[in-house]
């Protein structure tokens, strides 16, 4: 795996594909932890409650904002691919990819504004 060697990797769509892949990896790592956290409720409220109080910390909220971004950018980027693969070709792929990233960032910022 060689990165950074070839000039064409400054292409917006190549970066979009990388963001899509990295966000997918991050979500795949996060998901078991998320499931285990929710699974705390099996033993009753108290353990989940303790976790939620821990997650009030601003740093955790910042990380949650990051996760919101990752989830949305992965989904919106994926929707762009579904459109590309199933509907007629449209030339504005770079614009669509940029819009997907921008929308995700905006949503993550709104989330942070509400919870911090």
């Amino acid at each position: 795996m060689t990165f950074g060697r070839l000039a064409h990797r400054s292409n917006v769509l190549w970066i979009a594909a990388l963001v899509h892949r990295l966000s997918g990896i991050a979500l795949a790592i996060f998901l078991p932890l998320h499931f285990l956290t929710l699974g705390l409720a099996i033993d009753g409220e108290a353990r989940l409650e303790r976790f939620l109080r821990w997650s009030d910390a601003p740093l955790v909220k910042l990380a949650e904002g990051g996760l919101v971004f990752l989830l949305l950018v992965h989904m919106l980027g994926g929707v762009r691919l579904l459109v590309l693969e199933n509907l007629d070709w449209r030339d504005e792929q770079k614009e669509l990819a940029t819009i997907a990233a921008a929308l995700s960032a905006v949503a993550a910022f709104i989330f942070l504004a509400r919870v911090l």
Partner: protein, 240 residues
């Protein structure tokens, strides 16, 4: 004061090094001119490939300052980076020597994708009339100008990461044949591009489309193949 270009050329095979040469900068000079000058006047041991010199054959494709290009159609003025040119063989292919690659894997994948026309009529049958404005014919025509130069193959990172991946050129040709109503080879062709390493391995980076000197769009062709193979699969027409 005449300006010079510092030209680094790959010497060797898979193992090797970049060797520095100094070439006079001229007006209206192509990268192929530079490589030819080095071989004829500075170092006769340099190996490189070209044929038409006028952007018709695709033989002179090399990696120039990090991008795959036709060197005969690349003006030095357009790509020179602070007086420097770095020229290597095309990526993703075995190197025979210096700037010449072995195109055999590229063409083997072409065959694997069933990129060859399979006739459905004989010379005794009447000629089939194909209206040029039909949707299928227009789709085929949009993809047909490929001259197998290998630039898309060299630019594609999925080719780099996935040894089984047939690559943009082979799949683009398969798409043009899928849309050719004279062709009888579609069952085998769809099965070939639906297998592992076929069209579904494409991640739509669009590096192929970005670099194609013929302004072709293999990403769009591959998207078309994805639709056709998915439809065939859901209808039970494919052995997947």
């Amino acid at each position: 004061m005449t300006e010079k270009i510092a030209v680094s050329l790959w010497r060797g095979r898979a193992q090797g090094r970049y060797q520095l040469y100094e070439v006079q900068l001229r007006e209206n000079q192509t990268v192929l001119d530079v490589v030819t000058f080095v071989q004829r006047h500075l170092d006769a041991t340099l190996a490189y490939r070209f044929a038409c010199r006028v952007g018709m054959c695709g033989s002179c494709a090399m990696t120039v300052n990090g991008r795959p290009r036709w060197t005969c159609r690349t003006h030095v003025a357009k790509v020179i980076d602070r007086g420097r040119l770095k020229i290597g063989p095309l990526e993703n292919l075995p190197v025979i020597k210096d700037l010449a690659t072995d195109m055999a894997p590229f063409f083997e994948k072409w065959q694997q994708a069933k990129g060859a026309f399979a006739p459905s009529r004989t010379r005794s049958d009447p000629i089939e009339r194909i209206p040029p404005g039909g949707a299928a014919r227009m789709a085929a025509d949009a993809a047909i100008e490929c001259i197998n130069c290998g630039i898309c193959y060299a630019a594609c990172d999925t080719v780099r990461w996935n040894a089984d991946y047939l690559g943009p050129a082979a799949l683009n040709r398969a798409w043009s044949l899928v849309n050719d109503q004279r062709d009888a080879g579609n069952p085998a062709r769809l099965a070939a591009v639906a297998a592992s390493g076929g069209c579904h391995a494409c991640h739509s980076h669009q590096s192929c489309q970005e670099h194609c000197p013929q302004a072709l769009n293999p990403t769009a062709s591959i998207a078309g193949l994805k639709r056709r193979t998915t439809l065939a699969y859901l209808r039970g027409e494919l052995k997947a």
